[in-house]
């Protein structure tokens, strides 16, 4: 109530003091977020940096141990394995996901009837994708007696326990990530709308086939959007946790085939009472994501085209 009347008063008043009051209101509204950032995010981040240089078992006080945690990373076989799994997941699932998103955005951009329905329908998985409920559902679908095997059974193919077989478990998580293509798709759609129709008209007049139009007009003009989606989804994929945690029951199994980096970090910290090392691992992940993003920005100079 008070916030509303404040807004009305602000809107009514004009002149020199209005801006100042605007700022005040903005700070007021930002305050809860800011407090949350400091207490819930920034505080623990600073803390974890300190803990990265300690041996901390959660129960007793942390002991400073210098760079021991970082040295240990060099010989930690499970960490190297987790890195392999995570890189595979990121490098396979992100391009696939973006390709699906772009493909569907192109289809939807052609002005289908009931477009807003499809847009929502395809966007929905993005909202649900990293939820526990969907991960549980995934377990059922890809289980030994799940939906996938029932369908395969109908066409006479012998299925298997997809999530309990180390050869296929990671693939089911890749499929799950690809399935959440809705968010980048919506952004692609917005981007496609920005491309002036006259370019396509001119190209049609000159007799350029559709494929050529896509390559020479759509892709270059959409490249900033592709870049944006790429950066965002790579970061997102590196941080994936829930899916692997739920699908593997927290183990990263079978045979560590779904041991995401974040899952390994969690196991060290909370299952093995090894929070010092886990904190150091968190900072390594930050460095890795930072490096990937930096490389992305560097590479962008060569392929992203800004039309201005």
């Amino acid at each position: 109530m008070t916030a509303l009347s404040e807004l009305q008063r602000l809107r009514a008043s004009r002149g020199g003091s209005a801006r100042k009051r605007d700022n005040k209101a903005a700070f007021l509204f930002l305050l809860p977020w800011f407090a949350g950032l400091l207490l819930i995010t920034a505080g623990p981040i600073v803390m974890s940096f300190g803990l990265g240089f300690t041996d901390y078992n959660l129960i007793e006080a942390p002991q400073f141990n210098g760079l021991d945690n970082f040295e240990r990373m060099l010989t930690d076989e499970r960490l190297h394995h987790a890195l392999g799994v995570t890189f595979t997941y990121v490098l396979v699932s992100v391009p696939l996901q973006l390709a699906c998103a772009l493909g569907l955005a192109l289809l939807l951009d052609r002005g289908l009837r009931g477009m807003s329905f499809y847009r929502s329908a395809f966007y929905l998985p993005s909202l649900l994708g990293s939820s526990v409920a969907i991960a549980v559902l995934w377990r059922q679908i890809f289980g030994a007696e799940g939906m996938v095997n029932q369908v395969l059974d109908l066409i006479g193919v012998q299925g298997r326990g997809w999530i309990s077989d180390p050869d296929t478990a990671l693939s089911t998580l890749v499929v799950l990530n690809v399935w959440t293509f809705g968010a980048p798709m919506v952004i692609f759609l917005a981007g496609l709308r920005q491309i002036p129709v006259m370019y396509y008209e001119a190209a049609s007049v000159d007799g350029a086939p559709r494929w050529m139009q896509f390559r020479k007009i759509t892709l270059p003009l959409l490249s900033p959007i592709i870049f944006f989606n790429l950066v965002l989804q790579i970061i997102h994929a590196f941080q994936s946790f829930t899916q692997a945690f739920v699908v593997s029951g927290g183990s990263g199994g079978p045979s560590d085939s779904t041991l995401f980096y974040t899952l390994y970090l969690y196991q060290r910290g909370f299952n093995n009472f090894d929070m010092g090392y886990a904190s150091a691992l968190a900072w390594l992940l930050l460095v890795i994501i930072g490096a990937f993003t930096a490389v992305n920005f560097w590479a962008a100079k060569h392929w992203v085209f800004y039309d201005d």
Binding site: V46, N57, I59, S164, D165, P166, S251, G253, D256, N271
Partner: protein
Amino acid sequence: MRYTPSRRAALALAVSLAATAALAACGSGGGDASGELTKDPVTLRFTWWGSDARHQRTQQVIDLFQKAHPNITVKGEFKDWNGYWDSLATTVAANDAPDIIQMDELYLASYAERGALLDLGTASKYLPTADFDPNALGTGQIGGKQYALPVGLSTYAVVVNTDLLAQYNIPVPDDATWTWDDLKTIGGQISKASGGKVTGVQSWGFDAGGVNIWARQAGASLYDDKGDVAIPPQVLAAYWQYLADLAKDGVAPAPSVSIERAGAGLDQSGTATNTSVFATWWNTQLTSLAKASGKNLKLLRLPGEAQTAGAYYKPSMFWSVSSRSKHPAESALFVDFLANSQQAADILLTDRGVPANTKIRAAITPKLTATDKAAAEFLDSVKVSKPPRVTPNGASGIEAILKRYTEEVLFGRMTPQQAAEKFIAELQAEIKAA
């Protein structure tokens, strides 16, 4: 970017020291429960893991206790097994541990040796332990201090579905003499007779019990008295070789099916769904299994026990009190109610194992259901020797490690020998690091 290692190192040091100082405050412990009980209102937090049936029974016991002690409120916090340990670790770290903690043998040393648990010996005024078998009490002691009070006892067993056996015209094997080869042979006959729909044996290798017994039957042990890993690699390799053979010969289900079931819990196990005839379980799980399967199930002693006995009593769980509890005396009083009162026992029965309190055990025996009675009688009939050393500090993750290497072996990604060597090295490293 200019690189200035000295300044960075200094910053890192400063920040980490600050963090260390900030956290040092949480490290202290060591309460005492010999003080007087208060008349003021007190709230105790009590946490446990388990099934819905356990939650209901436990709540009834809490209600009874509160009626007897109107100034004490007990707040129950219950979870499933996996979430339980994650949450306990974080609450203890946050200096917000529940007062009364249901503890497991796997984690006992990890918490006790780090000072998170109260020495219940200081609480003997409120929590007498005279009715407990001294051997059972010993399982809750570390360095001579009673950090945990055993609740119930259980022992590793084979559960057999006698209805299915009858269906395939196979007699129940004599568990006084049978060997591991017998289990493989009979299991193979069942898999063959059912055309693979029902397998003879449900694969195991996902819990510490199986490997403990296997080691003891070979005259070895998983850990030595000092708490180092002591199982010889070839013994462990033979264990995995046996499991791999069961899967390869179709005596047990395909590896991916076994692993999925192992992760899905009791209700979806081969025993509960009547798709495996023989399976290893703790004897106290008989009632839940019989309820889920709806068939006649029977407990058998493990194969190979006639040759070298490896069986032992495992405390199914313990009661512990947090060393940082603000109300240690009242907490001890509540544990006393759980462990020593007939009123509570009449409700809890054998839900947490056959009671380790011998007086209580005798008192509830006439009230047990048929399967509970069978489990209790089985416990008495098994010839046991000294229990294995408590899982050492740092080794609480043994089941996760064990499961991982079992998977490697079942999927043929490692030979049993390789897995055995790597398992031993990894477990030993965890113990050393703690």
